[in-house]
Amino acid sequence: MSLWKIAWRSIQQRSLSSLMTGLSMALGVALVVAVLVVLGVVKDSFTQNAEGYNIIVGPKGGSLELVLNTVYHLGRPQSTLPWSYYEEFTEGKFAPSVELAIPYCLGDNYEGYRVVATTSDLFDKSEYRAGQKYTFAAGHNFADEAFYEAVIGATVARNTGLRVGDTFEPTHGLSAGEMGHKHDPFRVVGVLDPTGTPNDRALFISVEGFFLLEGHSLDKPSDVGTSNDMAASAAADEHDDEHDHAHEDGHDHDAEHDHEHADDHDHDDHAHEGHDDEVHDEHEHDEAVETTAAPAAANSSTGEDAADEHREDEHDERDHAEDGHDHDEHAHDEHDDHDHDAHDHDAHDHDEHDHGHGHDHHHEPLPKELREVTAILVRTDLTGGLTIPKVLQRDPRAMAVYPVQEINTLFEGLVGNLKLLLVGLAVLVVVVAGVGIMVSIYNTMNDRRRDIAVMRALGAGRQTVMFVILFESLLLSLVGGVAGLLIGHGLVALLNPLIVAQTGVSIGFFQFQIVELALIPGLIVLATAAGIVPALAAYRTDVSKALGDAP
């Protein structure tokens, strides 16, 4: 008969007390497991959002901001990169080691949900989580050539009621509170299945259509990437709404007059009335403040009407796009008064016209040199993953970040201490359970003394009886601990549907955290510590006295 079995018999003999101590250990361990799993889920739910690509390229600046902008649709992009950077990944110097590059152009929202202008590659070629491709609950991917098509995330579909075939008008600005003017409508051609990622909360439009929207391109080929509305509006948002308006072409009028979003309705009144000089001065001033890195900003307001004139002359396509609401099918006409009118159509005029169509033809893509990109999601091969960020380190404008790394850093920074505290508390519960085991064994030492003496009389050594007690403590701890693991994982598995619904992270029963491996040696140490006091008492037992046959 092994000592383990002897110890086990002793546990059975005191089944109630053993059950209690074992249960307290089980609950402690289950708590540890639950805490670890929950923390793991939270962390996974963070990082999994950036799976499917290994690098994000964006303008130099805060790397975390870049990740937050692109992965979580949070925060505001500070600036943009010229389109040529994107092309470096598709056909340029980085192309050989790049498997996939997806541009992100940000700057619009719809009812507070980010509108991401991108290419159809996002849904055709990328995965939102390792091994999981985007699937459509309804409809299909947008086509890059069909400028005004959109795909929407599951949450957006649920909360806005948009369906395939519906149209929506992105609003300039990144969140619902910003009273940016509305853009041309896009037609929903696909609704994504839920992914459990922030992309559920975004709308995706063809980047080609995006570029044709008002304010979404560089002002001038020459001032590539300096002052442009896309970046400037984003930057401006940081300060206040006024700035935001100030940048939207003619909207600075409102800013000037502080008309509290009246822009959509009556700004014409002011726009025309000789305020232009003043307005443009103001405008110039604003830009200088807002886009500090934009010396060329001035170019957009070199003369009274110069800024608007530029637009008129050079971006008639876009002007058409914005004015299209107003003038519907004869959209291609040039209008001298565009610069004044253009902006007051946004809100109300849309309603009067049917825009869902009419855009899809007779559009020319925006010339490449006028394009810009907020961020590029890149999936590279192994060498690309190592070299591209290094190469870009020397680039004056762009940088590459490893999103998962950034997210991990963020996560540790956010919840690192909390995590320690939670795990510490849970471990404390386990330690208390260990103390419980010690007390329960120690309290029964009087009863055990005779058993120990009998074993000694039968020839068991001191160490032997000591180990029997230690093993009892170990068995209680380990059996309780394993039960706790099962309980913990069982609970987690039971709650899995809930967790999936909340976070998109699915945890199976057998999904163990690596840290849990530390539980076993940890429990062994704890059990040994708990058992050592009674075990030493067993070791010291005076057999002659304990046999009870001598007084």
């Binding site: 008969m1 003999q13 009998v454 009389a457 039968l458 020839g459 050594g461 046959d549």
Partner: protein
């Protein structure tokens, strides 16, 4: 088989004065010999058995069991030697309550060299008339049955010497005789020497050799006289 020479053992009274319990200049038991030990309560019978078993160390003298002086052995060696050479039956509380009859017998084997031998354990329990009670826990056995399990367990490791300390004190007369017969028969069958302590005169009378502790224990005499 068993040979005590000049063994002395005294305890210390609570007030610090020494209390001599044993002073045995000579006591021996031959191979497979059976002897009964008589003595007043408190005369040191149990203490003598403990000293023979190596459970209590004498202050002086030597205790030779099967040719080796156990007083010279390190404790751990002595424990193992006891497991191999000596079977012990107590007055009460012989069995571990958490173990079945069979397991109690196997437990005795666990600490010996041979290891657990379930076949022999069953056979022994069969011989003491408990072949059908193997899986019963002590709580489900009568006191007499418990003592029979204790006998079986004491013999499990094929010891050279069986010590029995009033094994029938808590048993009725009919059972007492049954157990005494059992112990004697089994010791004879296995060639085991037997030293048995008893108060019962009718039991003592059955033995060829009856030792009165008072006669060879010099420790008790001055006080007694």
């Amino acid at each position: 088989m068993l040979k005590l020479s000049d063994v002395e053992k005294s305890f210390t009274e609570p007030d610090g004065t020494p209390l001599p319990v044993l002073r045995v200049s000579n006591f021996s038991l031959g191979e497979a010999e059976q002897a009964v030990l008589l003595g007043e309560s408190g005369s040191g019978k149990t203490t003598l058995l403990h000293v023979i078993a190596g459970i209590t160390r004498p202050d002086r003298g030597s205790v030779e069991v099967d040719g080796r002086d156990i007083t010279q052995m390190p404790e751990s060696v002595c424990d193992r030697y006891r497991a191999a050479k000596i079977g012990y039956v107590f007055q009460t509380f012989n069995l571990l309550p958490g173990f079945s009859a069979l397991e109690n017998v196997l437990l005795g084997m666990t600490f010996g060299q041979g290891g657990a031998d379930p076949a022999r354990a069953r056979e022994l329990l069969g011989r003491v008339g408990l072949g059908k009670r193997l899986t019963h826990k002590p709580g489900a056995l009568s006191v007499g049955e418990q003592q029979r399990v204790a006998v079986a367990r004491a013999l499990a490791n094929r010891p050279k010497l069986l010590l029995a300390d009033e094994p029938t004190a808590n048993v009725d007369r009919g059972n007492q005789q049954h157990i005494i017969d059992l112990v004697r028969d089994q010791c004879r069958a296995e060639g085991v020497a037997l030293l048995i302590v008893t108060h019962a005169i009718e039991v003592a009378n059955q033995f060829d050799r009856v030792e009165h502790l008072a006669e060879f224990n010099q420790a008790g005499q001055p006080q007694a006289g």
